[in-house]
């Protein structure tokens, strides 16, 4: 079905068409040889309307949304700058007719993989009857012998499968790979849809589009069905390798959609053969583990002994049916290209069906005839090891030199069973928005299937990825691929219901649908600690920014007026900055005028991300702590944090004024504080976050007072110092109001009153202590922490300001220094008591003979 090209033409697509010409044979996902592909007409019209400029704007919007939603792919190299997910604004559109063919075929493939998995860890009929050569399976590292005969309840052994497809020249989709180890991308698919729905709002609204939500409902249901029978309301966790994992975003977004906590290995423990979540209060049983840690790392007792990412005893708990791990440990055995040639026969044996979805033609080199063919045609084939081991990736025979081919030939001959070859597939192309207009890139479609009833539910969409360069066959996230949303058009009769569905779930911590499951209530000590530090770093960044704002103001006014009272005050405040931030050495360049040196110094205190004590350092730590507890935070948080990060990343010019930067940083931090105050449910997560904020603010205010008000200053300067302290602690207006009302007899005393004892001042120490007491009441009881806080509060009540202000400042300085020390030891006690980490895990030296 081809639509006629509009009379007036489509300049952007016409140009794109000329770029397609040289690619003989390959199909395109939007253009046919003489028109527009069925289903893509509306998209083509939109492209036409937008023009290159409009498309680039949409691309920029997509980039901004990715940033605002904090979507990352890849680890965090230096500070927190994760690699960003890259989204192309143009979706891949699959029309209803095509999907009606593809969807059952994908479901059938999932059923087949499930049956194969069940057989390989059961009777192994496929191997015994020679349907699949035994070496193909037994020589694959994904075959985990330790998991043999472990069965999970319910109709399926395979919880979820992802399938990578490429379109053949004849128009049909071919499978190029199966992902079953711990398939990633369902979360990215939903997030990409959220972004494109905002980037192309009109087109998204007007297109009768199949919705993604149902898939996540099914996923939740499947987890219930696969849970141990004893669990009435199964408790589910998602086990992650950590916030540094490449797909950490995908994991936490999926967990947020489903309403399950993300946990790391140290959050879990096996006791009496079952799995528990360690929380700050108690142990909570876990029934289902959604595994995103690779199988070999998931249990150091039976698998890799050096793994710190797994839980010792997890396999035993699975073996005795106390926990269900999905995908099952061992499901990675299906991620084997050498299985592809044998799947049609397996389908006949296990399902009594013909396999409808073709795989890319594949030859397993363990078979003599296939080996001979492969070696003869090596320069025209894709050469793959059967397992994706480190350093062994797919090679394209036609890109290799004669030497490289000979080397591969030798390796294949040495261990033929571990290699296979595949036909070169002229994958289809799809347009990608570039500054030079649309450019064709090869496309891989990843689909997702999750167990449902007796069969599988295929996500009505998926994730399309296109190569980073126009000539590459390599389409993988690691090689910098771009992502496209996948739009599956609803069949005409279902269009009404589909379009009325709410495509994008509310951006909140609300789980999809109404959970019958018991939510996990406790927080793991690791999560509690990250929340506590999120509060502390955010508060530290804010406090430091305020102090620097005061210092910068004084510098602007007095740096060039040495000898003035103001200059004396300025140096006193700068000393206070040094003491409070603990940043001391910022190499001054000799010969610089003092004002330049000062400005450079202040600038470093704002922007130097590598230096502990600076605003940037605390800001990045705030972002990092947030990333570690992503599933605990609202999605709006990322809009605020991305703005903060952006501000910190843009290095200002040498002579750029600091005040606007500080104002923007403060604005983001205040927005963050506002979100935490107004958008977070008061649960243990919030109380830890708040406790961190209070602990930090208490230390800040005492430290500022100690290094300003409690220092001896010449007559006439101390007034400026007091005002600086009040400014840095956001209390100057109240002070002035009291002063105007004639209530201030001694500025120092009033300042101390306002910042230490005034329980109504949210910046005062007394206020922080009261809030801390409230936070602790809502957290698991720790007698020693309560006692320490009690004695701090008593100290406050007994404080005699008149006595402290008498004579010189020595008595006050001693008092504040001791108070600061008490606050530090209180914070340490709180951390030690609340964030109990398990002792280090060690492999027991294996006993030989």
């Amino acid at each position: 079905m081809t639509a006629a090209i509009p009379e007036d033409g489509n300049p952007v697509l016409d140009r794109y068409r000329t770029r397609l010409r040289p690619r003989q044979g390959a199909l395109d996902e939007i253009l046919t040889s003489d028109g527009v592909r069925a289903g893509s007409q509306d998209l083509a019209s939109s492209i036409d309307l937008l023009g290159v400029t409009g498309l680039l704007t949409r691309r920029e919007q997509a980039r901004r949304f990715v940033e605002d939603d904090g979507v990352t792919y890849g680890g965090s190299p230096v500070v927190t700058r994760n690699r960003r997910w890259t989204v192309d604004p143009l979706p891949l559109v699959l029309d209803a007719e095509e999907w009606a063919r593809l969807e059952p075929a994908l479901a059938q493939r999932a059923r087949l993989l499930d049956a194969v998995l069940t057989d390989l860890y059961g009777s192994r009929r496929l191997l015994r009857e020679g349907v699949i050569p035994a070496e193909v399976v037994l020589g694959h590292p994904g075959f985990v012998r330790q998991a043999d005969h472990i069965r999970v309840p319910g109709a399926h052994q395979l919880f979820m499968a992802a399938t990578d497809l490429a379109r053949h020249e004849d128009g049909t989709w071919h499978v190029i790979g199966d992902r079953t180890q711990a398939p990633s991308g369902a979360g990215y698919a939903m997030e990409t849809r959220r972004i494109i729905a905002r980037v192309l709002p009109g087109l998204h609204r007007d297109t009768p589009l199949a919705r993604l939500r149902a898939f996540f409902h099914t996923m939740r249901q499947a987890l219930q069905e696969m849970a141990p029978e004893t669990a009435e309301a199964p408790r589910v966790v998602l086990l992650t390798p950590g916030a540094g994992s490449e797909t950490a975003f995908d994991q936490s977004f999926l967990a947020t959609l489903l309403g399950f906590p993300v946990v790391e290995a140290e959050d879990l423990t096996v006791r009496d053969g079952r799995v528990w979540l360690r929380t700050t209060g108690r142990l909570e049983p876990v029934d289902v583990v959604v595994r995103r840690v690779d199988a070999w790392f998931s249990d150091p007792l039976e698998l890799r002994p050096d793994s710190q990412l797994g839980v010792p005893g997890l396999l035993e708990a699975s073996r005795n049916g106390a926990v269900t791990v999905v995908n099952t440990i061992g499901a990675g055995v299906l991620e084997n290209p050498a299985l592809l040639p044998f799947l049609p026969a397996a389908a006949r044996v296990l399902l009594d069906e013909e396999l409808t979805l073709p795989s890319v033609p594949t030859w397993w080199c363990g078979d003599a005839a296939s080996r001979a063919y492969s070696l003869e045609h090596l320069d025209q084939l894709v050469i793959k090891p059967i397992a994706r081991d480190v350093g062994l990736t797919s090679r394209f025979g036609w890109e290799l030199t004669r030497d490289q081919l000979d080397e591969l030939r030798r390796r294949i001959e040495a261990a033929p069973w571990s290699w296979c070859t595949q036909e070169r597939l002229e994958m289809s192309t799809a347009p990608v928005v570039t500054s030079l207009g649309l450019e064709p890139r090869r496309l891989v479609l990843r689909t997702f299937a999750v167990a449902q009833g007796a069969g599988y539910h295929v996500m009505a969409g998926g994730l399309a990825r296109v190569g980073s360069k126009s000539d590459t066959y390599l389409v993988s996230n690691l090689s910098g691929a771009l992502t496209k949303d996948v739009w599956v058009l609803s069949a005409a009769d279902a269009a009404g219901t589909a379009a009325s569905g709410d495509d994008v779930p509310a951006p909140s911590r609300q789980p999809v649908g109404h959970s019958r499951g018991t939510p996990m209530t406790g927080l793991s000590p690791r999560v509690a600690e990250d929340l506590f530090w999120l509060g502390r770093y955010a508060e530290r960044a804010e406090g430091t920014a305020r102090l620097l704002r005061v210092a910068d103001d004084l510098t602007q006014d007095y740096a060039n007026r040495p000898g003035s009272r103001g200059a004396v005050a300025m140096y006193a405040v700068l000393d206070a900055v040094n003491a409070v931030t603990t940043v001391r050495h910022l190499g001054d360049r000799p010969g610089d005028p003092p004002s330049t040196a000062l400005r450079r110094r202040l600038r470093s205190l704002v922007t130097d991300a590598m230096l502990p004590g600076t605003v940037a350092f605390a800001g990045y730590r705030t972002v990092r702590a947030a990333q570690a507890v992503r599933d605990q935070l609202s999605l709006d948080t990322w809009v605020v944090l991305s703005r903060l990060e952006r501000r910190l990343t843009e290095i200002p010019a040498d002579d750029a004024p600091l005040q606007p930067i500080l104002a923007q940083v403060l604005e983001s931090l205040l927005a963050l504080a506002g979100l935490s105050a107004e958008s977070l449910v008061r649960d243990p997560a919030w109380y830890f976050l708040d406790a961190g904020r209070r602990v930090e603010r208490a230390q800040q205010v005492v430290s500022v007072l100690l290094h300003t008000v409690a220092t001896d200053q010449p007559e006439g300067v101390d007034g400026m110092i007091v005002e600086s302290a009040l400014l840095a602690c956001e209390s100057v207006i109240t002070f002035r109001r009291r002063d105007a009302a004639g209530l201030v007899t001694s500025p120092v005393r009033t300042a101390l009153e306002l910042l230490l004892l005034d329980r109504a001042n949210p910046r005062a120490l007394a206020f922080q202590l009261e809030r801390l007491a409230d936070d602790l009441r809502h957290l698991p009881e720790r007698a020693s922490v309560d006692a320490a806080l009690g004695s701090l509060s008593a100290l406050m009540r007994e404080t005699d300001l008149d006595l402290l202000c008498r004579g010189d400042r020595a008595r006050l300085a001693t008092f504040l220094a001791e108070l600061h020390a008490s606050l530090l030891s209180f914070a340490r006690l709180l951390e030690r008591e609340s964030f109990v980490h398990p002792a280090p895990q060690r492999a027991l030296g294996v006993v030989g003979w």
């Binding site: 191997l127 070496e135 035993e316 073996r319 398990p838 002792a839 895990q841 030296g845 294996v846 006993v847």
Partner: protein, 306 residues
């Protein structure tokens, strides 16, 4: 060249294997996996066996592993600084002396071809023990050794005994030179090792010539008969190799002592190599870094008519 020292005839043994770990610091949690209680075989019948653990474990569970071995999960939640795991088994063993002369009806290559073509042989078992395994990897250095240690055109019985003889004479038994993670390449370079290394070596060579071979973990009675030297591997667990013959039968060969296994050999478990069947391995949670290991094994022949 049939070994003369082989002892046939049924007998009964009591095997006690005690493993003790003393830790530098308190251990808060301990997870163990043991392959310590013997499996039954065609030539061996386990009359009784038990596993004693101190301190009191919160859970001991027995399961059967992929290879049919008895395997135990041992979980301890009590704080402790000393762990002892003691296995005690009583077995009857009657392992006939293999007829190596009869095996000479095949050549090595002929036997490998027959095994490959035999549709009665379980392809899973055959492939499991023919493919490389974590500690028995295919390497050039192993190929060189194999080319010298076994002749594919030789008679099978002679070749098997010859292989065992070659390992025995070319490698020195030396404990402490190798560890449980030593690779075959290192053993071949050092020309030294212990029973585990020699078993891996034999297994590796046999797989290279197309004969499925497995690693056997067990014990050897070392009470020296009068006037004969005490055998190496005394009072410890032992390891040797087993090879699949045409028809799918297995025979056991001990390169450490240059002889086929007889009724003095007690089989505990078998796998592709050591990593499949370590007697005891574990994961502990502790601040300490050091532990002191003490192992004591007694293989006592019981005075009884079997």
């Amino acid at each position: 060249m049939i070994a003369a020292r082989v002892e046939a005839g049924a007998r009964r043994y009591e095997v006690t294997h005690r493993t003790e770990y003393r830790y530098e610091e308190e251990v808060t949690g301990s997870y163990g996996r043991a392959f310590l209680l013997p499996r039954d075989t065609d030539e061996q019948w386990c009359r009784s066996s038990r596993l004693a653990v101190s301190p009191e474990p919160s859970l001991i569970e027995e399961s059967t592993d992929h290879f049919g071995n008895r395997s135990h999960y041992i979980e301890i939640q009590n704080r402790h600084q000393v762990l002892t795991v003691t296995s005690t088994s009583v077995l009857d063993i009657d392992r006939p002396v293999p007829d190596f002369a009869a095996l000479n009806a095949w050549t090595v290559a002929g036997a490998a071809a027959a095994l490959r073509a035999d549709s009665d042989i379980d392809p899973v078992e055959r492939a499991s023990f023919l493919l490389p395994s974590p500690q028995v990897e295919e390497q050039t250095v192993l190929r060189h050794f194999a080319a010298r240690a076994i002749d594919v055109d030789a008679h099978l019985g002679d070749a098997l005994l010859g292989l065992v003889q070659t390992i025995y004479s070319e490698f020195a038994y030396a404990s402490g030179v190798t560890t449980v993670t030593t690779t075959l390449g290192e053993v071949l370079r050092k020309r030294q090792g212990v029973c585990q290394d020699f078993a891996h070596l034999a297994v590796g060579v046999l797989r290279l010539v197309g004969l499925p071979a497995r690693y056997v973990s067990g014990y050897l009675e070392t009470q020296p008969p009068l006037g004969q030297p005490k055998l190496q591997g005394a009072d410890a667990s032992h390891a040797w190799a087993s090879v699949m013959l045409p028809s799918g039968r297995w025979i056991d060969l001990d390169p450490t002592n240059n002889q086929p296994a007889d009724s003095r050999y007690v089989v505990t478990a078998w796998g592709r190599d050591y990593t499949d069947v370590p007697p005891l391995k574990g994961v502990i949670f502790t601040e300490g870094r050091k532990s002191v290991l003490h192992v004591a094994v007694d293989v006592i022949r019981l005075d009884t008519d079997v």
